[in-house]
């Protein structure tokens, strides 16, 4: 059996059961996933998604750089983080100042971490000043 360079314990990112698993990493690739036994959630088990569903992490079409475009008709072109974030900051500021805080809406994510969800709603409420924050969990 191939030996892992390292094994990282984490939480499955597919469904609300939250199975505990080990990612076996070799040459920076997840090459095996195993369910962990030391918990009261999955007792060592995983389903087909948790066990075999992690190729997406290495997919060739993962986003690697910020993208921006001058208009909706234009193609995307790569941008630096500075360019991209300045553009977002300026546009959000402009729209907030012109139409008021409630003209900006946010969707947080049932796929992101608690910490990230917390920060995005804090951003909406304290930096923009709107309670218009929702996510797709109703769906």
């Amino acid at each position: 059996m191939l030996k892992a360079d390292r094994i990282v314990q984490t939480t499955c990112s597919y469904c609300g059961v939250g199975c505990q698993l080990d990612l076996h990493i070799r040459e920076e690739i997840i090459f095996r996933v195993e369910g962990r036994f030391d918990n009261e959630v999955n007792f060592g088990q995983l389903c087909v998604k948790g066990r075999f569903g992690y190729d997406f992490v290495h997919a060739s079409d993962r986003l690697r750089r910020p993208l921006a475009r001058a208009s909706r008709r234009a193609e995307f072109s790569p941008a630096s983080w500075d360019e991209a974030l300045d553009r977002v900051a300026n546009r959000l500021k402009g729209i907030r100042d012109q139409y008021g805080p409630r003209s900006v809406a946010f969707l947080t994510s049932a796929k992101c971490t608690n910490e990230e969800n917390y920060l995005l709603q804090k951003f909406a409420r304290t930096v923009i000043g709107t309670n218009t924050v929702d996510h797709c969990a109703r769906l």
């Binding site: 990282v8 314990q9 984490t10 939480t11 597919y14 469904c15 609300g16 059961v17 939250g18 505990q20 990612l23 990493i25 997840i30 009261e40 959630v41 999955n42 087909v48 998604k49 075999f52 569903g53 992690y54 190729d55 997406f56 992490v57 079409d61 993962r62 986003l63 750089r65 993208l67 921006a68 909706r72 974030l85 300045d86 977002v88 729209i95 805080p101 409630r102 900006v104 809406a105 969707l107 947080t108 994510s109 049932a110 971490t113 608690n114 910490e115 990230e116 969800n117 920060l119 995005l120 909406a124 409420r125 304290t126 000043g129 709107t130 309670n131 996510h135 797709c136 969990a137 109703r138």
Partner: protein, 551 residues
Amino acid sequence: MTNSIREIPEAEVIFVIGSNTTEAHPVLALQMKKAVCGRGAKLILADPRRIELAGFAHLHLRQRPGTDIALINTIAHVIIKEGLHDLAFIEERTEGYEEFAALVGEWTPERGKEVTGVPAQEIIEAARLYAKAGNASIFWAMGITQHTTGTDNVKALVNLALLTGHIGRLGAGLNPLRGQNNVQGACDMGGLPNVYPGYQNVTDVAVREKFEKAWGITTADDRPRPNGSPSPAVRRLDTQIGLTITEIVDAILAGEVHALYIMGENPMLSDPNLNHVRQALERVDFLVHQDIFLNETGQFADVVLPAASFAEKWGTFTNTERRVQMVRPALEPPGEARPDWQIITDLANRMGADWSYESAAEIMDEIAAVTPIYGGISHARLERLGGIQWPCPTPDHPGTQYLHESKFSRGRGLFTPVEFEEAEELPDSEYPFILSTGRVLFHWHGGTMSRRSPGLESLAPQAEIEIHPQDAQKLGAQDGQPVRVSSRRGDVVANVLITPRSPTGTVFMTFHYAEAAANLLTPNYVDPVAKIPEYKVSAVKVEIVEEAVSV
């Protein structure tokens, strides 16, 4: 969930309604199977389709789609009529029983049968099984919430638990199964327009003032502002409830919302009535899409920000039983991609805020400080103990395995009489079938992640529509044949899968496929309280076509 996953085998009776548990929550379903096969628990399944769990069920009630309330009210009627309700519990811990009893008084098994199509004897048997059990727990998922009557469906289930006292004990409770991995956490963290983190109301003045203080909004003097200070432009927190996702779409089309910031979501695939969403995404002045892939929604964006995946960052997810668990980085993010929390922090500071978060652990400390149910949770503690179930108010609190042991959050449990109403859109001569939507085991939601796994793709490669053999015969459709499925809102092409799984008159599609997004067909009527769109019931027609299905 009021109970924990490990308590599932403790129940004598498990009542599953509107959850295809073996497909949507497979590892949790193993515990149900263990209860049934290993412990002799009785499973009552209420689902129009003959799903896999039916093979383990003692009773399978196949109600007509959209008639859950009628079914549940009839069960309650039988429980009261046969004197199986828990009078001591009702007396001691609940209120509103009289009105409720009056309403379900009309739901005789005969009337229940007429509306739901379930034989009266089966309803009676289900009522007896559930009420007589020492411990019984109810499980439900999107099948219950994705109706215009979704909130009422849940209230009807709450009524059942209050009536029998099956709540607040090991193996007895009410257990909604959350779909995506961190839906629970997204809600807990205030990713909702009406509440701050920890379900604290935005319209409660005392709560709002607490957050204004904690977030440094109201520091009148010139002292240096605390970490995480807001932009100086914001002087008070918004006093009104914000918009829900379906309202956001409408507000964009009405010219009231001009910018939309989307982190890690794909409304272009998961929203009902996609044509409507598409118009909104085209119309909005500025769209930011922050994600790990450029998905269908990202195609409309002005700026796309590359995020790290779960395998490339620190943080926590909260599972369906309220258990907060660690997420740990195993890899570096590809290229210049960054964890979402770093992107947001950077952006906030560019807009005049003063945030200096160095780690996800530090953010969790702030969460604990402002969110009582997370008060005792920290990364250090999670590393030491493994997962912790909220409420966990203090650093020495062990967490809470099951909820409502001695009292309910509001004090007394409230019976809410809920009246049955027909679904908004019923089949007619032009659109004769009921379309029901759902998931298949091998894909996840919009499929943005799982469709990139070659292994998973080959197990479930095409959009399919399940049709009952009798209906297929009437249509003259063969297995595997492409058909056009149309509603009043749009049409898609999918391959026929002939199966008796769905009853006659009902067809079933999944929404994992952008090519045949079933949500082009679904209406955007929403439940008036929870604002959950109606997916489970819409009327469609099915016609044979020549064109091949795009894959």
